[in-house]
Subunit: 332 residues, 2 copies
């Protein structure tokens, strides 16, 4: 299977899940000291992950939590952020300019507690955060583990132990098997859409952030294919007027609280479009995981499927995904 190392992927996910005691030690301490709200700070792909975890929390929690774009924080600021705020961020390189500057500003002006998932623990950013956890891959899972612990401690996630028992026992194997089983679909999808003039991606709920970033950080940035992403309920408030018979539209239908919003798009599309794809997380098994937790895990299913699409588009287009024409190539 193209660009797929089953053992390595399995090891990555298991390693991320094994971070939980380390994450909990930090979160429990923060909770004991008290905090007023939680800001998820990001830009580009990490901004998108921040959007996802905020929706995830909103499903259960009364904790004040919001996402913030690092560049916007640097200019407009956010007066809800104080020394009682918990800031959570993630950075692979530890060198993203806006994130580094935002952390400097938070430390200098506010003194909030900062939990940073920074893969490169040699980056200066790694020594700037209050609490550092350094482990490559699985950003969304790390964010969800922080959110879940916060909600557990707030009494909003009574079945936390039950959920993570299932996760520890089954999730890594399940999600790797999803990726494997999605390969034929990924090839078929790539063959059909690798030359699209523009591709529309529709998502909702905890998949909206991932829909936004898959379109932008993968198709635009890495495949150099034009896209537009749209939140499912917004599709009906303007965007759909440009959809015609041959317009390529993909809808992610997850199993979280906003499933009905994506289903509405999926159910409507056949009336006006002959080139649509519905990707429904329900079609993929997660043995050992209870039905009630599948909504939380839908984005991971979609991520595994998208990986297969990417591998095949990359090969068909002979366009290595590592090439950038502008990003970190030019001055801006």
């Amino acid at each position: 299977m193209l660009k797929f190392d089953k053992e390595k992927t399995l090891e990555n996910v298991k390693g991320a899940l094994a971070l939980r005691p380390e994450i909990n030690a930090v979160v429990d301490e923060i909770n004991t000291n008290g905090y007023s709200n939680v800001m998820w700070l990001g830009i580009g792909g990490t901004y998108a992950s921040a959007m996802q975890v905020v929706v995830h929390m909103k499903e259960r929690s009364a904790i004040e939590t919001f996402y913030e774009n690092a560049a916007e924080y640097l200019t407009t600021g956010n007066r809800r952020v104080t020394d009682k705020t918990l800031v959570v961020l993630s950075s692979v390189s530890g060198s993203t300019e806006e994130i580094v500057e935002a952390v400097e500003k938070i430390k200098k002006e506010v003194g909030a507690t900062i939990l940073g998932f920074i893969d490169n623990d040699q980056a200066p950013l790694a020594s700037m955060v209050t609490h550092l956890i350094s482990y490559p891959t699985d950003e969304q899972l790390k964010f969800f583990m922080v959110a879940d612990r916060l909600m557990y401690l707030a009494g909003e996630f009574p079945d936390y132990d039950e959920f993570y028992k299932e996760m520890d026992e089954h999730f890594a194997n399940d999600i790797v098997n999803v990726e494997e089983s999605a390969d034929a679909f990924g090839l078929q999808f790539a063959e059909k859409h690798h030359e699209d003039d523009i591709h529309y991606f529709v998502g909702a709920g905890n998949q909206w952030g991932a829909t936004y970033s898959y379109a932008m950080c993968y198709w635009e940035e890495q495949h150099w294919l034009k896209t537009k992403s749209i939140e499912a309920p917004e599709f009906f408030h303007g965007m759909f007027e440009i959809v015609e018979r041959d317009t390529p539209v993909t809808v992610y239908v997850g199993e979280d609280s906003q499933r009905s919003l994506s289903e509405r798009v999926a159910n409507f599309l056949p009336q006006i479009c002959g080139n649509y794809t519905v990707i429904d997380s329900k079609e993929y098994d997660l043995p050992g995981i209870s039905e009630k937790y599948r909504g939380t895990l839908s984005p991971f299913i979609f991520h595994a499927i998208n990986n297969r699409i990417d591998a095949h588009i990359e090969h068909i287009n002979r366009h290595p995904m590592d090439i950038r024409r502008y990003y970190r190539q030019l001055q801006y």
Copy 2:
């Protein structure tokens, strides 16, 4: 001048500004009774206006305020919304399904105070809100007047009276003159871009919501032209990789706190693109308005300019902007 009734526009803006005593009576009462946070509820165009007012408030305020998509509120809910919340919304028709249902849910489950700007005061929605203000046009101005009064009462806008003295004396005339003076530009822009395969719009700060809705609710919904809108800082985190010599890109450069983010895009574009347009609010006079207030008013300048673009695209394309192929035409 095409599709421009100067006297009528002037009268509309003056009428909106004259709502201030009515708005303040409501807001002052809510403030006296106490509120914990402010939710701006919308969908489509009104969702975009909600985004704008939240950025406007973040520039000055420590009040907890956020925007919420009505469809997402109906599914995921928002536990920050309680009987101490002030909900603000706007609806022209009063019949937007998601807004009506969200108001029903808020009344039934939460009992928050709801201030509704509902143009059609005969719509059932008009009798469902706690406080009704009914006046056509100028939604953004109405939202800003609510926000400004809240911030004034919280001690965050000490020069409120000074600002509104200038607004009452000069804004209506100024903004109508901006629209008139932008007509030649609007024609030239429309002639160049009325057949674009796709047009990219970049915005930031209090113009981001308007950038999103101008692209979606005008070009897509009313002109049936493809667009993508992007927040200025996000442009550099993926999207820009698909920009080439002939890609049409328009950047709104306003004078609010995030001006530098849009400027960065405007300054970079000439390196990679030969088909870009920078629309800078600074190029338009607002006589009688102090420099320090121009940031707040930038979105109104852009709105006036966009009106001219629309009038000319509509005529050149012979595509009346009132036509919808799907919206409220089909079942979905």
